[in-house]
Symmetry: C2
Subunit: 272 residues, 2 copies
């Protein structure tokens, strides 16, 4: 089982109805138990750290990781448990919330563009420009034609970024409706999790089917070879973490960051 | 030995000539060997992570860590080895380099103010507003009176930040001139370190005594109870990391972040 193939929304088979989430098992774990997953992830993290340091030194390319998924699908947990191993010197997380007045006064990619990673950096987007399709659609503010137009605009934008040295990976954290209900209920019961409850949680759980519909459209229309979507089974947290960590490691390896060659003549470098 | 006391520049004893760096041993390790230091740091890191998560949840206070020190004193290494354990969701590193045109067109605290941490966040400043005293002074661009004026302005600025919910810790990484020479030579020999060599390294090594003089002034005039300076012995990297990790942990403990109390009636929270 190669996560790079198994969880990929294949760009070469793209069609408007390519992805049906009922065909993707949110409970899948490849029979990997938690101890093995954590042990292997520790090694992935070490390798990721080394590659991250070379990316920083090389200072010519960057990596953008986009996390999307329903409420309670585990975006924050993924960042804490997978990205926690990254050096904050050249890695940052940007959480896109409801747009503020200045952001609403601009086109929807304006606030996104200001946050793309500079050379040598890794950026993690906790939600992203895809929210500008999802939320307006679920709330009946844009038509299906506008959805298709925005998908096309985003494909073009991501292509431009990739042509300018940014490697893009997009993860959709796939949980079941039952798992969402279970996690939201847990938040109510657990005093250390109540602060995460949002007044919109009930509404968004009620709109589950609408969210599934628009995510299927996005996953079908916006998985491109320059910015592929991976549908990560996310009911089981340790497997979710393992799969994302594995894919990030493989993408970083493929970027082949190297320490820059600097030829220095020690005889010209005289210190007191 | 309590690092919070031993390495503190005591604000209650402030005078213009309080700090003489020759009285601070850069080689000090408290006889702590590397294995013990690393083992203890692992535990500190776990505790820091828990407190960081509570700080994020509480969303009412923030932490600003300032790193200063000569070239090759280990600022980058400290960030990688100590701050690497922090969750990038609510922690970011800002490296202040030579000011760009837009920054030079403003007052020197302008670019600093835009980067102070928002509520719930931890910011690490790799260099800071203190560079706007150090570099102009070493290059004879400002007078001693201007140094004193800027120290006063910075004290006021930091006091204002602390009055508005930002806890400030400042670390001076203290190495010897011999150690700087050794590390710069190592960068020339090691192909994985050559990229770090800066054309100014030779000049700044030559100006060692001038840097010591201005650092002593800053440490003497700007260690305040709301923003204390700690002089960290930094010739030995594992002890440097251990001491900084310990102090950050203790400061976070003193901030007492707690999960917010949210009282929710489960009967009002009905999911499909």
């Amino acid at each position: 089982m190669d996560p790079l193939r198994k969880f990929l929304v294949n760009p070469t088979k793209a069609s408007a109805n390519q992805v049906k989430l009922k065909n993707w098992d949110p409970q899948y774990t490849w029979n990997k138990n938690k101890i093995d997953a954590v042990t292997e992830m520790d090694q992935f993290s070490k390798n990721i750290s080394e590659l991250q340091y070379k990316l920083f030194a090389a200072n010519n390319k960057s990596l953008l990781v986009i996390l999307q998924g329903a409420d309670a699908s585990g975006k924050d947990g993924t960042i804490r448990q997978v990205m926690g191993a990254l050096n904050p010197q050249n890695c940052y997380v940007k959480s896109f919330k409801v747009p503020n007045d200045a952001e609403l006064a601009h086109d929807y990619l304006w606030r996104i563009h200001t946050e793309v990673p500079s050379k040598g950096q890794i950026a993690i987007f906790n939600r992203s420009h895809y929210e500008d399709i999802i939320e307006p659609f679920v709330n009946n503010l844009i038509s299906k034609d506008q959805v298709i137009l925005r998908c096309k605009q985003i494909n073009d934008f991501e292509k431009y970024l990739s042509e300018n040295g940014i490697t893009i990976i997009k993860f959709f954290l796939h949980i079941s409706k039952e798992e969402q209900r279970r996690r939201l209920q847990e938040r109510i019961q657990d005093p250390t999790k109540q602060w995460k409850i949002n007044e919109n949680d009930i509404v968004s759980h009620r709109n589950w089917d609408k969210y599934v519909g628009i995510y299927e459209k996005i996953l079908s229309l916006c998985s491109k070879k320059w910015a592929p979507w991976y549908i990560i089974p996310a009911n089981v947290k340790h497997f979710r973490n393992w799969a994302i960590s594995y894919i990030i490691l493989k993408k970083l390896e493929a970027m082949k960051p190297e320490f820059p060659r600097v030829v220095i003549d020690p005889s010209e470098f005289i210190l007191d």
